[in-house]
């Protein structure tokens, strides 16, 4: 990138340029731009202004979201066309270009789907508006629990931004704190939403530092925060915050299923999005000896080439070398006592142009209660372990997605009943499958809306 990209706050009065700025760098360490970091005072004034902003009608909101999808997908925003944008995201985040493109398309699809999906969380007893004929004899009406929704986004892939626009569809004002590594998607999407008709005081971009980020949450009514287990723990007692934490997604293969047919499906679920999503498979439990499956996965995953993120054929994520080394060291520490099938020596593959590819890792653990089965790392890293029917669902707890490759109906019932398992997929459905309208951590509407009785 010859020209530096400036990511400025998009506040209630339009673009706001701060003096406090931070460099944005590519994964190879090159400065590619600057981001302005807003102060707590600015956050508070912006959220206060958003609170007062009028709410457009539901029909207008949907129309604007539709229009924003097109602008986001194909438009030229802040002198940057769609290709340049995708390239920039790849260079900044190390996410393979093809993954970025797919992810961008996914965000646009999610925006367009809101026409049909935004209302899916509404209880069947509720009407969407107070003047629905049903309220004449008394009915529940679906209403917002607050006015302003805050999002602490992460920079994994643009796909992270496919979820929060649902809040706009529901009539919330939304303030997004972007990732300070990849703020381009949030900037582009919010610019597109504004161009499509959302007012400056209804959707805002508030880039800022770690401390001020808390102010955004404190000022908003509800918030969604992407982060690690620390973030989940931090907000565990806060009913206004919906943490999006580690997924620790798992696949279970029981004896009645031939694992040999599933190797490519499992390998893809491990390496999907370069292993950077919470839905990527973290561990596989197999009834019987895990070694042959681990070996087959290692063989399959080892064939993925190391390429620069912006190479159209790239599959694996690139990180700054220093960060890659840290992750590798961490892997070595946590992998102690396991049998490495792939990546046991090093997962770091430095690129000639700077940065390092995070190569896949496959480790075999001895028992279904091995702690490694819940270690999720931001690259294709899978733990394979043994499982027996008497282990039950205990080793599968605390998972965002469990794909159960089994014919055992009781086991499926047990998985559905377990509160710490968020989603249950069956058969040849990879943990990574995401469909508009099928919630991946409940519908946002469940968190942001409630019913109110109206009788007239």
């Amino acid at each position: 990138m010859a020209e530096l990209v400036h990511v400025d706050a998009l506040g209630a009065d339009g673009i706001y340029r701060t003096r406090r700025r931070m460099d944005l760098t590519s994964v190879s360490g090159e400065k590619i731009g600057e981001i302005g970091l807003v102060s707590p005072l600015y956050v508070r004034r912006t959220v206060a202004a958003m609170r007062e902003a009028p709410v457009p009608s539901a029909t207008d909101r949907i129309a604007m979201l539709d229009k924003a999808a097109d602008i986001y997908l194909t438009g030229t925003i802040a002198d940057m066309n769609a290709d340049q944008y995708a390239h920039l995201v790849s260079v900044a985040s190390g996410v393979p270009l093809s993954v970025v493109r797919g992810s961008i398309a996914g965000v646009a699809d999610a925006l367009r789907a809101l026409r049909h999906t935004a209302g899916l969380a509404m209880p069947m007893g509720a009407a969407a508006c107070w003047d629905d004929p049903r309220t004449e004899s008394g009915s529940a009406v679906w209403t917002r629990k607050g006015d302003v929704f805050a999002v602490h986004a992460s920079g994994n892939t643009p796909g992270v931004h496919g979820l929060w626009p649902e809040a706009l569809a529901l009539g919330y004002k939304v303030a997004v704190r972007p990732s300070n590594r990849e703020p381009f998607t949030a900037f582009r999407l919010i610019s597109a939403l504004r161009e499509a008709g959302f007012s400056d005081d209804s959707v805002a971009l508030l880039p800022t530092d770690y401390e001020t980020a808390d102010v955004i949450i404190a000022e908003a009514d509800y918030a969604m925060v992407y982060g690690g287990q620390d973030v989940v723990d931090k907000y565990a007692g806060n009913p206004r915050v919906l943490p999006q934490g580690p997924g620790r997604s798992k696949i279970l293969v029981t004896k009645d299923v031939d694992w040999r047919d599933k190797v490519s499906l499992i390998a893809d679920a491990v390496s999907y999005l370069g292993g950077t999503a919470c839905v990527c498979t973290t561990s596989v439990l197999i009834e019987g000896d895990p070694a042959p499956l681990a070996e087959a996965l290692a063989d399959r995953l080892s064939q993925i080439p190391s390429l620069a993120a912006e190479d159209p054929a790239a599959v694996l994520t690139v990180q700054p070398c220093e960060q890659a080394e840290k992750i590798d060291q961490y892997l070595h520490t946590v992998a102690e006592g396991t049998r490495p099938w792939l990546g046991g020596d090093s997962i770091v593959d430095e690129l000639p142009a700077g940065g390092a590819v995070l190569r896949p890792a496959v480790h075999e653990v001895r028992s279904p209660d091995a702690s490694q089965l819940n270690v999720e790392l931001p690259f294709p890293c899978v733990w394979v372990g043994p499982w027996a029917p008497e282990d039950g669902i205990a080793p599968l707890k605390r998972s965002l997605v469990v794909t159960a490759m089994t014919e055992d109906r009781q086991l499926i019932e047990d998985l559905l009943r377990e509160p710490s398992i968020t989603n249950v997929y069956l058969g040849d459905t990879p943990t990574t499958l995401m469909l508009p309208g099928v919630p991946h951590d409940g519908y946002l509407g469940e968190f942001l809306m409630r019913t109110k009785a109206v009788i007239r």
Binding site: T18, S39, L41, Y42, R45, P246, A277, C278, Q323, K326
Partner: protein, 365 residues
Amino acid sequence: MSSPILDITTDPSRIDPDEYVRELMQWHFRPETGCSFWLRRAARLGFDPLTDVNGVADLAKFPNFIDEFRDTAIEDLIPRGLGQSQQIAGIYESSGTTGPPKRFVMFEEWLEGFLSWWGDRLDEIVAETGPLNSLAIVPSGPHMFGEVTTRWARRCGGVKFTVDLDPRWVKVLISQGRTGDADAYAEHIVDQAAHILRTQDVGVLATTPALLERLARHADLVDLINKSVRAIIWSGAQMDADTRELLRSQVFPGIPLLGIYGSTTILGGAKERHDEEFDGNPVSDPFSPYIFFRVVDPETGEEVGFGQRGQVVMSHLTKYALLPNNLERDMATRIKPPEGVIGSSVAGVGPVSTFGGTPVIEGVY
């Protein structure tokens, strides 16, 4: 007994700083005039201040003594040459952030001299508006800022309304992770200030950046302040350029925002240069030669160039106290001082910024 050059004047720009320093060494290190602390300490300096310190440059020979002020008896800090006639305004303490507080003697004459020099902007405002009442929401008790606002209130011709404020307790709460309690305490202070603003005529508001920002969260208080307040004085911590700009342009438009960059360890501070900024920050000029700054590279201790950032070293040199070479925890940009001012002016005072650093934690976000 002292040379007239050591008498405090509000326009010290014509004082020859080297001559001033030489006279000051005679004052502080002769048994007839010096204080017990320095007379005792002189033996272990490794140089003779009476003969080896011949100008400002030689002050660098003094090490940073400031930690010794934590447990020195106050009587030992009173220069004998001042005699019994000199009134003491109070004993003031540093904030105590880095250990037990350090104690200093504030003499009446020095404090008044400093305030006369600093308060010229305030005097101009009052000359236009007539007498103004003050509201001070500042640390009082052992903290110099409380006393300073009392004096200003008098200069402004009105009364001073106050709210109790104990910043050390807030620091304890924050260090224990009790941010909710710290928040509640701050709101308690704002509530009391709000009552005064609602019921009294306040023309000058003195507070800290954090409390000013907190007042700004309340639209009704912002309205009250904008209606009656003619000057806002702040000190006690840093204010970043973006926040200052928002306060000046949007929250309190038209109300002069007068900052004072100071420290108890120099018994005073610097004055914002009128209508001149560096990168959005006010430029602070010290009351030289009584107070002066150096800005040094934290690694090497060497002075940085103009326009460069470094750590601030503060000195207080008067017949009332000798406090050389105190390394503050603040970072600032070194600015060329006005004609006749020794050392440096500073701008953009702030803590060392800490960005980046990405520890590996499990998870993908």
